[in-house]
Point group: C2
Chain length 178, copies 2
DNA sequence: AGCAAGTGTTTTACTCGTGAAACATCCTCG
DNA sequence: CGAGGATGTTTCACGAGTAAAACACTTGCT
């Protein structure tokens, strides 16, 4: 009955596998393979977001906020709101809101462009940079721990496959039309 | 300068790789390996959610709504609101709201338990079941197309690694404490 | 110069999800 | 039997994101 599994390597079943099995038994004709990737990515993302953000929350930051600060830190120079939106994959409106909060908290400073008075330039304050630099190592340690159930070889393999998928998606999406 | 890459296999770089490179150059001491998995999972999930839901939206359903209907369909029997919440990994409040809309749309029916008058039992109406059965194949076809950039062998590999990661996460998360 | 079109940013109105409290009902045990 | 606590579900108040409109400014054209 449980024939799809590779072998008795002690691998406990994940919830997505169970869901897929249910669908198979209701619609044996359907090719449910995509669920095993997409369903798992979604579920992993959800679980990781819950777990992963613990060190960030301790620093009083949400992940989107940290992403914004991180973009400023890692690029090493000022960014405009629209650049921040691109860099963090969020909408301009969301960036505006976050910037408002983060500047109020003194983590980010705003400077108007002298030539073009529409645009703003954002940079980290000292406090902001210290917060990022202090939080990032903890965050990475925590993420390392979260992933430690997978041995290094598999982690590398997974990272590489995800990279391939992602670069395909980033290149091709938008070309597809439902 | 660009030494970490495996080889010139023609693989276009994904955005996460670029972000990781930036961090490396700012903090060469940090182990950024987890980002290559977690960052990519998050980014894939975001991209997939945008793309992937096209056939669902045509059916007038959001993904959470479809997940709810799908849970009823694939289990094949009635479910209570709390079972639906568990099954779709969402909060009870969210399930209540979705059920309200879906029953108003005539896709789901509610029946009170005769013994315990607190609990409700939900089932698909004929219209609901037809909608699920009509939409799922299109959805799967679409997902297949979205993933088609990866050859079948790699898809299988990826699914399997994600399954391992997910079952680790589902088992271990909560045991970790930031 | 001065207007139209374009671009960068913010505001607005709205949707959706959440946790906590409220509500309804059941169960247990004195 | 009836109070107290547990359990299933819904309501409430709120936070966060979005698309589209509004706003502010620049640029190019005549």
């Amino acid at each position: 009955m449980t024939a799809t599994n590779g072998g008795p390597t002690g691998t406990r079943q994940d919830t997505v596998a169970a869901v897929v099995r249910q669908w198979q038994s209701v619609h044996p004709d359907l090719d449910t393979a995509p669920m095993e990737i997409i369903g798992r990515i979604n579920r992993c993302a959800a679980l990781l977001q819950q777990a992963e953000d613990a060190p960030l929350r301790r620093a009083g930051l949400s992940r989107p906020e940290f992403d914004l600060l991180g973009a400023l830190r890692r690029t090493g120079h000022e960014l405009t709101p629209s650049e921040l939106a691109r860099e963090t994959f969020s909408s301009g409106a969301a960036v505006t809101k976050r910037l408002k909060l983060l500047t109020e908290r003194g983590l980010v400073e705003r400077r108007g462009d002298s030539r073009d008075r529409r645009v703003a330039h954002l940079r980290l304050t000292d406090a902001g940079r210290e917060l990022v630099d202090g939080t990032l190592p903890e965050q990475l340690d925590y993420e390392t721990a979260v992933l430690s159930g997978l041995d290094p070889h598999r982690q590398h393999e997974l990272a590489s496959l995800l990279g391939e998928l992602l670069s395909q998606l980033e290149g091709r999406l938008g070309a597809l039309r439902g």
